[in-house]
Amino acid sequence: MSAREEMTPNPLSVWQVIELARHQDRPYSLDYFRRLAPDFIELHGDRLSADDPALVAGVGTFHSRTTVFLGHQKGRSLKERVARNWGMMHPEGYRKAIRLAHHAAKFGFPIISLIDTPGAYPGAGAEERGIAAAIAQAIMEWFRIPVPIVAAVIGEGGSGGALGMGVADRVIMLENAIYSVASPEAAASIVWRDNSRKVEAAEQLQLTSRDLIAMGVVEEVVPEPEGSASADYDAAACALDEALQRHLAPLLSQSVEQLLQHRYDRFRYIDSLIHAEPHFGPKID
């Protein structure tokens, strides 16, 4: 589905979509990596000080091409969630991602980045170690990585923590994923100073896949199997595989100059791509 009008009306409320996007049975990055590239080898560490388990990374063969995979990883059991920090990255995670982006650049491997995070970790340690600058530098650096990058929002795309992994040549999104400037809880806390207004905030934020494609922020919405991605990991991975390959293929033949100029233009004019509802639109003169 590439246009809003081709999508059937969604019977779910915005909050129900958010609950699906955050569901603990939803497939996570590693569930997809194992299906997209069964020979996936996980690689660790930012080569500076630590390894961030909230971001899994590695190499695998995707449609007979070695590919660097990056993805936020949440946990299912409480123990695993704690270990994965609920998929919330520390500064080391962004540095690890950029280290592996340079690995991809050295060998000419394309990059697939799966986004599934409530946001970067809102803790004292992250602040002390420069989370703001780590995200800022990652965002800037992605524009210089001379290989094709396709990102897919598979669950939660929360705030700058998600964007730090979301600068790509194409960004696609699963049907029941969300992508937002802030979590509904944080937005309610900022706008109302009351995070119990999360449902109202969620409805205002326009964070579902339908909203995002209407605003031109993502290129495609990937349909999920009956009962959502949680119901059938293989079918969800199969749909994601097909969409990723379709977006990656034309990028592989582009020159580095074309690729980087297009990546720049994609984000430079992202707010002028709005094409759906009359009240949307590039109103900047």
């Binding site: 809102p122 602040e127 800022a136 964007l163 802030a182 984000f267 430079r268 707010d271 109103k283 003169d285």
Partner: protein, 275 residues
């Protein structure tokens, strides 16, 4: 022979406009002398308290008198998301425009102690200085022109982060402006960032900390997540001075912490050295 020292540079480019002030300094409690304060760049001469100042003050503070040429002032915010609660966004924006504020970032060209620069200043009074489509557009256009014409870029930040009311499109401004910062760096154009109180969220995590040299005002709060949210999320007690300019200096993110009265002379010297 001993070389001459740097020529003294005035602490402001021209007279600053008057701003609304409390009767007593929140830092030391002394009664404020408005004229004295204005001549000290709105820094309390007694205790060094830095009053928050808007873009309309930063511009004459930085720019040599008569040199300011504002650009794209007519680019306007609109309610793209049909944002209605608790207040319609369109009304909020229109009211602020009526009050004489012109978006969260104003930009243009000027000279600073004779050096041509691009200047961009955030306005915390406009929806918390939040990064919006218009702010991002003004920043990106200015940086692209600065990169193309090899003119140094000076930024003054004061921002709560990305603007909620513009949703994910506000988030995307972080990528838009960082791509433009990359162009400045690729072109070898100096980018000096002055961080003032407060600089948080999407602004801290995009262009604010990407300067070739990052300068901060004393005591300015600078970080990604605000202390209230950190406490809510982690139940941690935050030490005094957490996320202050001095904290960021100690943690390697800021090059220089300097009172507002010394920032313009420092920039003049840096522009000279990086010409």
């Amino acid at each position: 022979m001993i070389a001459d020292g740097p020529r003294p540079v005035a602490i402001q480019g021209g007279p600053l406009p008057e701003i609304l002030l409390p009767t007593n300094c929140p830092g030391c409690g002394v009664g404020l002398q408005v004229e004295e304060l204005r001549e000290h760049n709105y820094v309390c001469p007694g205790c060094g308290h830095h009053f928050r100042i808007a873009a309309e003050v930063w511009i004459p503070l930085m720019a040599d008198g008569g040199s300011w040429n504002e650009r794209w002032a007519d680019v306007r915010s609109h309610d793209l998301l049909n944002w209605k609660v608790p207040k319609p966004y369109q009304e909020v924006v229109e009211q602020l425009l009526e009050e004489g504020l012109n978006e969260a970032v104003r930009t243009g060209t000027c000279t600073l102690a004779g050096h041509p620069i691009w200047l961009a200043a955030f306005d915390f009074g406009f929806v918390g200085g939040t990064l919006s489509i218009v702010a991002g557009e003004r920043l990106a256009r200015g940086m692209e022109q600065a990169a193309a014409s090899h003119v140094p870029y000076v930024l003054v930040t004061a921002s709560g982060g990305a603007r909620m009311q513009e949703g994910v499109l506000a988030l995307m401004q972080m990528a838009k402006v960082n791509a433009a910062v990359g162009r400045l760096h690729a072109a070898g154009v100096p980018f000096f960032s002055v961080l003032t109180d407060p600089t948080f969220g999407g602004t801290a995590a995009s262009l604010a900390l990407l300067g070739d040299i990052n300068i901060a005002e004393p005591g300015a709060a600078i970080g990604f997540t605000g202390p209230r949210v950190i406490k809510q999320a982690t139940y941690a007690d935050l030490p005094p001075g957490f996320q202050s300019a001095e904290f960021q200096l100690a943690h390697g993110q800021i090059d220089v912490v300097l009172p507002r009265t010394e920032i313009r002379p420092l920039l003049a010297r840096l522009l000279e050295m990086h010409a």
